[in-house]
Symmetry: C3
Subunit: 352 residues, 3 copies
């Protein structure tokens, strides 16, 4: 199954990108990431236009990458500006990908640069808001992108896969509402008068019963944000604890995915012990997910005679996300040659 | 090459199956094996009908498996009987495979359940007969099923591959008789007045010369039984030693096979030192076979321009086995859609 | 991409081949190499005509290989001369490949034996000339053959990949002349008045400036020879140092290659410390190449939408080599069935 190309994916955390060239696979392509001298991040196709050697293994001379195999020199726009020790300057170009840097996140648009629309990016203001604190990271996942999307869009799995931390029976037992708007899928689940799951009980020091809200938003193809509120049952929302968990679900190859996470809260910002506790819990939860998703990947990859999957009410948001992604992929496949996959190759070989 | 589906394979030794869920790949499918409370063994397709997560990773609640990803509950017949914490009960079904348990062996029929015929199973009475003792086990083999079948149907290889234990020149030098009956292939080799091979000399304490009988029966697709008799030359058979070696040759995936073995004898049943000696010898012989078959697998897998194989008289039983298997596979491929591979998928998605 | 079959490749150094059977993959085929009692080296297809078991795992009985699985006996011409312990002698044949042994090198022709032409082999007299000394070896490379050919045909990469040993700016900065003759590609680069690269400065003890010649000859498909001369600038050639580096570039499988090397010099032949220094430097340089080529292999193997490569003047010899190889492959593909790939299989099954 191809990946959506025309959409934003999390390329890297801002602090990952520097004047040291780095390679990261994104949407089936090797990408070279670095910063220009003025701090602007750059993403280039990581194959030298000469003999495909990774530019990321090259040497940075100011803003110019000099390939370490034969000396091709490529600027931050992907244009060959000469070859070291050679007098001729070949007309050559690698693809340069649109990047947007906001609130400590660098977003990439792997598809047609002309269609890159910053308006599609969600506002993640809490990642830099002084009233909030957060931690973040990246976990490698050897499973297809779609399985991670569906994992996060159906949080009923918390009940079964994460019973020792963030899940209890209330999650699966509480129905969601869902909505679709353009390429976004929303769901909302409000659990009332429930026992606090272990993670929140310890994390918030709040006596049960509590009310727990999960408001999820999926920005297809690669961004998921979960707004969490926990409050003692019967109190009004402002007295509760707020958390926002963002996942950057970035396909690397057909069956590997970058699982970026950022967990933010608006309380006890200076409590580093709490941050450490939450971080270790987050990684424990993600390990449970990674183990399950990698097993699930094997079950899908080896299923030679697949039959229709059974679905229930709690799958609705995930099914809507699946449909949005399918439609985006279909549109990209059906696009005229001038805008589609074939053309991207010819554009890349040209002068864009 | 596809595997025969409509036939009995050794799924597990009885003692392997318990109330602990286990996964075993059989004939290209992951199978979940466990016992119901009443002791009956069950084999289900090991993909949850919801999102293919292995049922074998689930939790057993009485006879019901509860999937550990999203809570689907599946009974011993493969029918979904509800979802934990959910009110709706989806109509969903995984395949349940016919099992037969006899003499400490659990046999599985991966194909069309309506065609499962217990009459095709050989009588392995000696595995529980009080006059006999045996040991058994399972060796993993990274080679295609067919190569193991042909290994056992042409025992002339004992002379060359196992000269330090069960083989000597007499095996290859002595012609076989062979016969085919339905899906069974028989061969018989009687060596008269030969020197006892090391394994039998030590195992029986019998002075050479001896007579040695090898009577093999292959029950296609997956069962091989070798009846062995050794007696001092010139004596009548009742004075000899009898052994029966059974192999369950169960394809796991296209190029991996479960190599089950059970070695039985009717003499010195209480002699545990002899059992240990024979068991270590058996494993040594199987290691020689596994090494050879895994090498042979590589030679077949990489042979892009294969030519016809050369064969001689000692190949006759193996060639007959090959033909029986080919005919079974052809019949399955040619079966009408209602009974063939396509139908199995639709049946599986239905209500069988 | 298929490999050229009708051409000479370096099969082994003479000293590698003995009465101990060995397997080496060459041009997508497993080959069994050994010496007959009279010292003549033999190369046979390393699959027994019976059940494809490697002959190289067999037992050598005089000049006859006896297969260790079922006892087929194959002579040095690849003909089955009987089966151990059996009375019948099947008509069976494995392919026997033309070998030529010269100056400590054994060359193999994997294609049509009738077309094997010793006249195509370069004269590597210096490998046994008393005025010369050399060391040699073999480095495994997990990259396609073509990438190694192009690496050696464009030595401008020395400037960027090997700056601490054999490369400096002068190599890339100095234009080559090139020529093509039949299946040979030549290039010549003369650097005048340059600083000696570290390897040569230490190796020759020569004060800069120096003149440096690189005269390369590629004998498609698999042999590269580099004639090197270094002399103080302004002196005549006889006062210089001479080195000859030969590479046997032998495809093993589609994406693995044997990288044979022999480095010879005509000065300080008895200086073993110098030999050791040069050998360690050679291996260090080859490690840099292997690392680069294996990375490049990954970039080519994963490039699903490849675009035309950019090339410059320093690529000319490599492009000419590429074209020669492409033409050879095209000719082999277009050959009539009687001489082409299909026929090789039938010939092999016959009596050639």
């Amino acid at each position: 199954m191809p990946h959506v190309q025309n959409g934003w994916y999390l390329a890297a955390w801002s602090k990952e990108i520097s004047s040291t060239l780095m390679q990261r696979w994104i949407a089936d392509q090797p990408i070279c990431l670095y910063r220009l001298a003025d701090g602007i991040p750059v993403a280039l196709e990581d194959r030298c236009p000469h003999r495909k050697y990774p530019l990321s293994l090259g040497r940075l001379d100011g803003d110019i990458i000099e390939c370490s195999y034969h000396g091709y020199r490529i600027d931050g726009g992907g244009t060959c500006v000469g070859v070291a020790e050679q007098t001729d300057t070949p007309k050559a170009q690698v693809r340069a990908f649109p990047l947007v840097e906001r609130h400590g996140v660098v977003w990439i648009w792997p598809g047609d640069p002309d269609r890159a629309d910053e308006g599609l990016l969600p506002d993640t203001w809490w990642l830099t808001d002084p009233g909030w604190t957060h931690f973040h990271g990246l976990v490698p996942l050897r499973a297809r992108h779609r399985l991670l999307v569906e994992n996060l869009l159906d949080l009923s799995h918390e009940t079964f896969l994460h019973p020792s931390s963030i899940g209890n029976a209330a999650v699966a037992a509480t129905p969601m509402t869902t909505a679709v708007q353009d390429q976004k899928v929303f769901f909302s689940r409000r659990m009332v008068g429930i026992e606090a799951p272990p993670f929140y009980a310890e994390s918030c020091g709040m006596a049960s019963p509590v009310d727990r809200w999960q408001d999820g938003e999926f920005h297809a193809p690669g961004i998921f944000i979960l707004h969490i509120r926990i409050a003692p049952t019967g109190t009004s929302e402002p007295d509760g604890f707020h958390m926002k968990i963002m996942y950057g679900m970035t396909p690397a190859t057909a069956a590997t995915t970058h699982d970026f996470y950022a967990v933010a809260r608006d309380y006890r910002a200076a409590d580093t012990a709490l941050t450490e506790f939450q971080h270790s819990q987050q990684l424990a939860v993600m390990k449970e997910d990674v183990d399950a998703l990698e097993t699930q990947e094997l079950m899908y990859a080896t299923d030679n005679v697949p039959r229709p999957e059974s679905s229930i009410g709690s799958d609705l948001a995930a099914l809507r996300a699946r449909r949005v992604l399918d439609q985006m992929i279909d549109r990209e496949a059906q696009a005229t040659p001038a805008a589609g996959r074939a053309s991207r190759a010819s554009v890349a070989a040209g002068t864009h």
